[in-house]
Symmetry: C2
Subunit: 182 residues, 2 copies
């Protein structure tokens, strides 16, 4: 009913584009539907802070929320994603937003792929024994993969632009974390 | 364009229902439109924290965001209001949400009053020399007034229900703060 507040998928992926990626961790931050919104936002903040403390990512990717979604779920998703962006930016981490279609296109080749297809590709790309459950968790990993790949493309562009000899190579995105609306 | 993130009206009002109210402070937390959303959320959090530190309110009222609003502005408003709710709830402060029509009805008698009418009534009720500017600031004060009055009604109800002799009187709402979408 209010999935952004109910479940935030979180996935941590280590790697650089062009080499096999490794899943570090995956999970879901949940908040009870019977609590009121301010309390749930505090619980989400606490959950995300624990993930950031434990995994110390170099960058954070958050799903870009669109208002053309179901109007009931979009408010909760917007609120939950605001907390995710806040937690990351407060630590000085770069925050990237990717749309659901960008994520699907990155991992399956099609921006209109369904959940099963995304789950199957995440399983293959991270060499897992089974698709992560729930779908929010798989979506968070897909977002992390998308971020590493898109980031690499952007870095190639930046390097080509600022191609001073001996220019310092930008460090690879090591870990990305995603907040996902199911 | 994105008013929730651009301006958050903040108003602090001291008083109890049935007696003249007093404006303690009013202002606006602003963030530059050219910064990206995660950074702007960090600036909003910092601004709200300063207000809470300085005024130590007993309760916080935040405008309830509706998704039927303009879809462009509603996302920013939802994100900014999530930060306001988070800041208050993290301190253990009670957070109340009031809709724009509830606020208008409380201060003007009509849920469809316009900005000027709300500004005029806020000026009168708080005995100010002129309507607070910008409209977001006046709206935040209207929200605080609404909260004190609605809170009093709810407390009367609670007292009538739990009417044990010598039951401790709930303390008056001393201060309310509002995040307002212009």
């Amino acid at each position: 009913m209010d999935p952004g507040l109910t479940r935030c998928g979180v996935g941590v992926v280590d790697g650089v584009a062009g080499r096999p990626l490794r899943m570090v961790a995956v999970g879901v931050v949940r908040t009870p539907a019977e609590r009121d919104t301010p309390e749930r936002l505090v619980l989400i903040e606490r959950g995300i802070e624990e993930w950031l403390d434990e995994h110390r990512p170099e960058a954070v990717a958050v799903e870009r929320v669109f208002s053309q979604h179901n109007v009931r779920t979009v408010m909760g998703t917007a609120q939950a994603s605001a907390v995710a962006m806040l937690c990351a930016a407060r630590r000085g981490l770069p925050v990237a937003l990717h749309t659901p279609s960008e994520v699907k296109a990155a991992v399956t080749g099609s921006g209109r792929a369904d959940k099963d297809q995304v789950g199957a590709m995440v399983t293959r790309l991270l060499r897992l024994s089974a698709p992560p459950k729930p779908a929010d968790a798989a979506d968070a990993l897909a977002l992390a993969i998308c971020h590493i790949w898109r980031g690499a493309a952007q870095q190639r562009l930046a390097r080509a632009t600022a191609a001073a000899p001996g220019a310092r190579r930008t460090p690879p995105v090591r870990v990305a974390k995603g907040t996902i609306e199911p």
